[in-house]
Amino acid sequence: MTSRYYYLLRSSWLRLLELIYWPAMQMLVWGFLYTYLYDSKSSMASTGGMLLGAVLLWDVLFRGQLGFTFTFLEEIWSRNLANLMMSPLQPAELAASLMGISLIRLLIGTLPVTLLAFLLFGFNIYALGFGLIAFFINLVLTGWAIGLVVSGLIIRQGLGAESLAYSIMILLLPLCCVYYPVWVLPVWLQAAAWSLTPTYVFEGMRAILLDGVFRADLMVECLALNLVYLGIGFTTFMLLLRSARHKGMLLTMGE
């Protein structure tokens, strides 16, 4: 299945360009803001680096989920889903191939942008060291768990649920504390924030950038939570797929 998505990617240079386009534009906007804050030598100057780091890591989460869900949507747009469901391909194999291609798309989209951030704005995200790997893995796992649920909803509800692919992550944005620490939230919302895995990553990033400390405890907790969410995501995907078979959604789904 991964070769199917590889063929798709190489069939159009515009698709490859699109993978880089949005992260690059976002990086330029936030990069110039970072430069402005840095040059103004105001008390806000130290937050500029955090903003850029947050933007890059948010993109890992957002693009990870989008890469998973969009690759799945390709099957529906091309009316190929029934062909796959009639083949010996197991749902777990389909999910694994979607994860694989989401990772490839993510690397294509983010690696050039991290270089751009370094070349244009002197911001080196690789200075986060080992922490960056832990952040990346955790964010990608979260993206896949959400991608599984969204793909299941699309199978079950049809293309009416397509907009979830774009919008569901925005729902998480205020609670994940991407640009501000958890303590800013009202106390009653903080528990909800800590139930979301990206919160651990962004708190961890701030700990490195502000205090120079890698919070391994946060990353371990985050990984454990991610494994639970991934299990829930796959179970939900399977239940929604089963429900779609009862509702007769698989054969006629498509544009």
Binding site: Y7, L8, S11, S78, M85, M86, P88, L89, R242, L250
Partner: protein, 275 residues
Amino acid sequence: MNHFEKNPAAEDAAPVPANELPALIQPPVRHDIEAAPAIAVEDLCKKYGSHWAVDEVNFIVPKGWTVGLLGGNGAGKTTTIAMIMGLVVPTVGRAMVLGCDMALERHKVLNRMNFESPYVALPSRLTVRENLTIFGRLYGVPNLKARIEELTDDFDLGDILDRATGRLSAGQKTRVSVAKALINDPDVLLLDEPTASLDPDRAEWVRSRLRAFQKRRGATILLSSHNMMEVEQLCDLVVIMSRGQVIALGRPDELIKRFQCKDLDEVFIYLARIA
């Protein structure tokens, strides 16, 4: 002659022993996978909301036979085929393929089946070769390169093999879809309107390829079509559906005789009007 004698108009496929031809409506006794008929549809029902799309449908397809599933729009053919494929779970009853209940254990037999339907398409941005390669790998086809070459010759795909599937004409797409349906040399082939978008010459050409495939492989084919001439030529048995139920079942020539019509087209029109 009864229902269980093959249609002399259809090409001979692998012979079916007499003991594998149980009474038509009677569910087959399941001794083991090989002893069961290729397809057995037993009291099959599907309800969507308050509407019964398929209502107590029963028929069997002995191994090596071609059976035509006919009916007007909304008769329940596609839902029946979807349940046989395991894409839709029956509300009541079951669809057995090669001895396996398709609602529960479809993964045991999916590599021995394949299908072609106008409701589905192959990824349009991929070339014909890429599509055949991917599905060949999914079905675990050995010597895939040689198999693709074989299908390329059989379906005259040489000129279009490296063209994007989405850029092909409707007829070319149909040929590619049928080639994909044969990529794994299936024991059971489900075809939904396989020649609908082809000109008469190409349609006859595809039919001849399907007959050759069945003769070589001894495969079982369940075919849905609105082309009655095609059904008469290809099918050993015809199942006619209306409003989710089977309203007639028999060999094409037997049905023509039973309803005192001159051909199957007339039978179809007659039944569509009285049903």
